[in-house]
Symmetry: C2
Subunit: 131 residues, 2 copies
DNA sequence: TTGTTATTGCGACTTAGTTGCAATAATAAG
DNA sequence: CTTATTATTGCAACTAAGTCGCAATAACAA
């Protein structure tokens, strides 16, 4: 199945490309000035994931967030999204942390997917809380 | 609000206590010979989480899994579920990995929650796939 | 034994994400 | 340039996980 170039796709990819955050469907839709259907957004994002353009993370509420693949490792041609994400419980932003992780797996185990999410308060929101 | 001892609660806690897995609501309900209402199971599990008896992990599909707190760190009285979980895409089991994680956070950030999930194939299922 | 209120069961509800299908439009072929 | 092929979209209906309100039940303390 060959991919085609469409407006919706480039719009979505642009939003993701020009932020360092991982966006939920909701946040992404808010950023999209062009009206794109819910279902289409999901389908586009899933396609991007398959193609390795974007990675998906689950937050602690079970909501998907998508981020452009910038600093992901690529050992032997396979994309590894082996970094953590930080979600602020107050402002809701999800950011990719730089620190790369390697988890020792029991022998014989095969890893296909990585989902690391830390929740808490980002610097700004933590300071506001202290006041 | 004071806690009371009920059958449902001890049943649920026993199931969790005597497995080293993190169970989804579905799996847990299957293990419960006594019939307990869906909503009750969720409420009990959430109470257990609040009380620090059990920890919750999200899998890559956004499904909650619950595991009895056995090997969790407890620095200065606060529970930290700072270990990873491995979910087999084939048999569906979620196990707690022993390896403890420490993620360096940007300065000023406060962590309240940790969710680490790796998906792949466990030894048994990986071997079957190779055949 | 009785009163208080935490807990349960039921059903209705919410929300995120998916899917079927007909319409649209990107690309290839002529 | 025109036409054919089929990937992609929009819409609406659907699914599944989890939550919530409320009346009924049952721990526990008095």
């Amino acid at each position: 199945m060959k991919r085609r170039n469409t407006q919706a796709q480039t719009d979505i990819l642009n939003v993701l490309k020009f932020t360092d955050r991982a966006l939920s469907h909701e946040q992404l839709q808010a950023e999209l000035e062009a009206k794109v259907d819910r279902a289409t957004i999901y389908r586009v994002l899933n396609r991007f994931c398959e193609d390795g353009l974007v990675h998906k993370v689950m937050d602690e509420d079970g909501k998907q967030h998508f981020a452009y693949c910038a600093g992901c490792d690529k050992p032997n041609n396979k994309h590894q999204h082996n970094h953590f994400h930080f979600k602020c419980r107050k402002c809701g932003t999800v950011e990719c942390l730089q620190h790369k992780i390697h988890i020792p797996l029991p022998e014989g185990y095969v890893i296909t997917d990585f989902n690391g999410m830390i929740a808490g308060y980002c610097k700004r929101c933590a300071e506001e809380r202290d006041v």
